[in-house]
């Protein structure tokens, strides 16, 4: 497994460097899509390398794929987490103090909802026609999976 770890690191670090460059060139837009495509490319690179070596090292593939997903999840949380946005608002205050009501301004029904809806629209989960919102087939598919998971784990939202 030592070799598997070394191999996965050899592909992971260049992928991170390319990702930093890509983010600098293209910004935050479609972050998830770009990140996933880059992760798939890195995994394909590893796979091709392993095939040329006639060594199907599944542990190395798992380490690289999962490591990349964990890396993306860190950024998804940094970008989307409501708690982190609240922390940033508090951190931006010189005194480091905010009254509770100040958070209503940062995340109220209207603004919080519109920001999320814009993001869902950008990622093609909904279509906004004038004031009417419709789910796309991509969203319907995703909700189908969520519904199965909620039933399986006996969850409520």
């Amino acid at each position: 497994m030592d070799q598997s770890l070394l191999l996965s690191i050899q592909f992971f670090i260049p992928a991170v460097l390319v990702h930093i460059l890509l983010c600098h060139l293209t910004g935050t837009e479609k972050f998830m899509l770009k990140g996933l495509l880059l992760g798939i490319a890195a995994n394909l690179g590893l796979l091709i390398f392993l095939v040329t070596q006639t060594n199907f090292d599944i542990v190395a593939i798992y380490l690289l794929g999962t490591g990349w997903l964990a890396y993306l999840m860190l950024f998804i949380n940094l970008l989307n987490s409501v708690t982190l946005k609240m922390l940033e608002a508090l951190g931006n205050e010189v005194s480091g103090v905010l009254p509770k009501e100040a958070f209503n301004k940062f995340f109220n029904e209207e603004d919080g909802l519109n920001t999320r809806l814009d993001s869902l629209s950008l990622n093609e989960f909904i279509i906004k026609k004038e004031d009417i919102i419709e789910l796309t087939s991509k969203a319907q598919f995703m909700l189908g999976i969520i519904s199965v998971l909620r039933k399986l784990f006996n969850m409520k939202s």
Binding site: D2, L5, F31, L63, T66, L78, L79, L90, I132, I146
Partner: protein, 177 residues
């Protein structure tokens, strides 16, 4: 030894999933702490098993540290990267809850507008007001902020985490939504 470190991690994770399903640990408000507590206990069994097995084989002085790190990563990542994320997305994701609410409104034959969606979500427990309260509470629980007389005070830990997050975003040239 290497077989135990690899297949032990996978096998113990399968046992963990079965226990989560049998005892319905993903249900309820405190599902995260319940699942994490059980996962920690099983991880401890994995660690003890690894050292115990190495002792039994008489290989404790040449314990395969890197393989142990890889096995531990597999056990931890199966939970935190896959299962825990799936539970988190299904249960707490704001965007998923919004999509579910749009679907519920559409099923009722209502043309969903932002206003109607906002009213519909406000009438339910998982409205954005509820989410805001929940996340403010989370900030307190994480010891990032303290509440004194209805005012939120940033703690040193909160300041550190905020700076770390902002530094990472700056290096990657990313902006929060």
């Amino acid at each position: 030894m290497e077989n135990y470190l690899l297949f032990g991690a996978i096998g113990l994770f399968i046992i963990f999933v079965l226990l989560v399903l049998i005892f319905k640990l993903a249900a309820g408000e405190d599902c995260y702490s319940k699942m994490n507590n059980l996962h920690k206990k099983i991880f401890l069994i994995y660690i003890l098993g690894a050292f115990g097995y190495a002792f039994y084989l008489g290989e404790l002085n040449q314990f395969p540290i890197i393989s142990f790190v890889v096995g531990s990563f597999i056990f931890l990542s199966l939970h935190y990267v896959y299962l825990f994320s799936l539970v988190g997305i299904s249960k707490k994701s704001i965007s998923i809850n919004i999509l579910v609410n749009i679907k519920e409104l559409s099923t009722d034959g209502v043309n969903t507008s932002v206003k109607k969606l906002s009213e519909f979500m406000s009438s339910k427990e998982n409205g954005l007001d509820y989410i805001r309260e929940n996340r403010l509470k989370q900030m307190e629980l994480l010891n990032w902020a303290e509440v004194k007389e209805s005012q939120y005070h940033l703690t040193p830990k909160g300041r550190l985490f905020n700076r770390m997050g902002n530094t990472v975003l700056k290096i990657w040239n990313l902006k929060r939504l």
